[in-house]
């Protein structure tokens, strides 16, 4: 499993691993989707929207990317499933695809209020990247 939930009293803390940085962003998006929607069936994608984020360092880029994704889930009612993103310097850009939120299928999770720097750690490992992040709920 590329992401797992860790103990945290009030919020949702996740450890996420990936072989490269862009995959880490995608896995982080999947982790947040699991918080928002619980377990849900993957269906053919019907929605694609653009996504873009900048950050002074990799940690800030992760936080800003996930904040942007959270925004898209709320205003586009997008349940994200896959990512096509590229990186140029301190900026990532591309598209995120998924399906429209359906109360009967995607009500298994909890609202995320924000992506916090609290307890955030991002490390390069022999296998790629390991991120620990807290979703404020």
């Amino acid at each position: 499993m590329p992401f797992e939930e860790l103990e945290h009293t009030a919020d949702v803390k996740m450890r996420i691993t990936a072989p490269d940085f862009l995959s880490l962003l995608a896995e982080s998006g999947d982790a947040m989707a699991s918080v928002l929607y619980g377990d849900f069936a993957k269906e053919p994608e019907t929605l694609t929207v653009e996504i873009e984020a900048e950050g002074e360092d990799s940690s800030e880029l992760v936080v800003n990317f996930l904040s942007e994704l959270l925004f898209l889930t709320e205003v586009e009612y997008l349940v994200p499933l896959s990512y096509s993103i590229a990186q140029e310097g301190n900026r990532v850009f591309g598209t995120v695809s998924g399906i429209e939120f359906d109360r009967t299928k995607h009500a298994g999770g909890i609202c995320v209020k924000g992506i916090s720097y609290s307890g955030l750690s991002l490390e390069e490992t022999a296998e790629g990247f390991e991120l620990t992040i807290i979703f404020d709920i």
Partner: protein, 477 residues
Amino acid sequence: MHEKIQRINETEWEIPKGFVENMRVSGRFFLSDLLAEGIEDGALTQLANVACLPGIINHSYGMPDIHWGYGFPIGGVAAFDETEGIISPGGVGFDINCGVRMITTPLTEADLTDKQGLIEELFEAVPTGVGAKSPIRLSQNDLTLMLEEGARHAVELGYGCAADVGRCEENGAMEGADISAVSKKARQRGVPQMGTLGSGNHFLELQTAEEILDAETAKTFGVKEGQLCIMIHCGSRGLGHQVCTDHLKVLEEAVKKYNIDLPDRQLACAPLDSPEGQAYFGGMAASANYAWANRQVITHIVREIFVKRFEIDYEEMPLIYDVAHNVAKWEEHEVDGVRKKVCVHRKGATRAFGPGRAEIPQEFRSAGQPVIIPGSMGTSSYLLAGTDGAMAQTFGSTCHGAGRVKSRSSAKKSLTGDAVAAELLKDGIYVRAPNPAAIAEEAPDVYKPSSEVVKTVSDAGISKIAVRLRPLGVIKG
């Protein structure tokens, strides 16, 4: 308890300067012996970190429901000097003006002949959980007016009665709201979520006023034994979350610009008189106003259902009070014998002004400000009154709820939502949520006992208990 912590009396403890480097003042927190057993070292460190912030006055305070949060601990209170002080989103939280309100009805528990049907009807009418869509079509102009005028504009649109406004802290609208500090993204999140409950610990609950603990205060507030009451707990939804996220980025830069030495990045802040600090204040105040409007719209939906179901008048369901428990506000307090304007941050803490303060509605002024403390879904909630003790000890502040002790993940591992709901039903409490996990994560066992938390603020003299309310039915977000 950590060895460096000093006990002042039965309920009050001190974190001395030096607990962490560069503390400008000491920390003070309120815990009974029972609550002290569960205190997290991380929360104490956060309380000490707050004591390092520029311009902090007297102490950094922790209420009995203290636990680890973002920046400030949840249950944290700090007042900052007008010229030397700072403002920090870490002292407010992502959910700006998360708060709670209480409404009374002319009904009693005996009138709830179809409690399940009522809860199910309320659940359908009040959008709840992830992906909830507003039951109203809010124009951009009305959104702007809600950001500026809060509950008052919701009432002008027909969502309530004029008396509601005066029963909200700040009359349902903080001064200083600045719509230019609310981004387009925040507005985009705000329009489709007006009148929605959210999730997590947010709830809509039916309660009975089971025990009157201070007859005179309860009478002043207009609450009678056996009366059916409604409690609503929610905040500024995605709009407030986006305002927090947007301004955190700016304030991270401001920390560097103003050379503020922080013990923790989560305490990103700016001087109160700086453009960055003023912009955050303006955006936060606008978000707080949105939250008051949000709770007002939900109140209206609930009242309409009660009018139809029970054939009672709308006006027979007065708002008792509405408190904000995630906010920073300008207030006047006595500091070293001098009345001063200070910026009080309350993060998971409730204003608890004592008798006589002009901010309290005239009809309640002799009793002190109503303070509403929700319990967890199986345990009692309380109506209290603010005290002179709170004015003297905590900048007029008290606790905000029960306070979590158990993580959501461990709650889900050890409990199932269906089992928790079945157990609560045995006690006559019908629970409805968008999914069973939401019930498991908010099970009564994951919180500190609300009775112990309010007993502690009462023993500490920072609030006076007036009424205990027992839950009858709950909608969890």
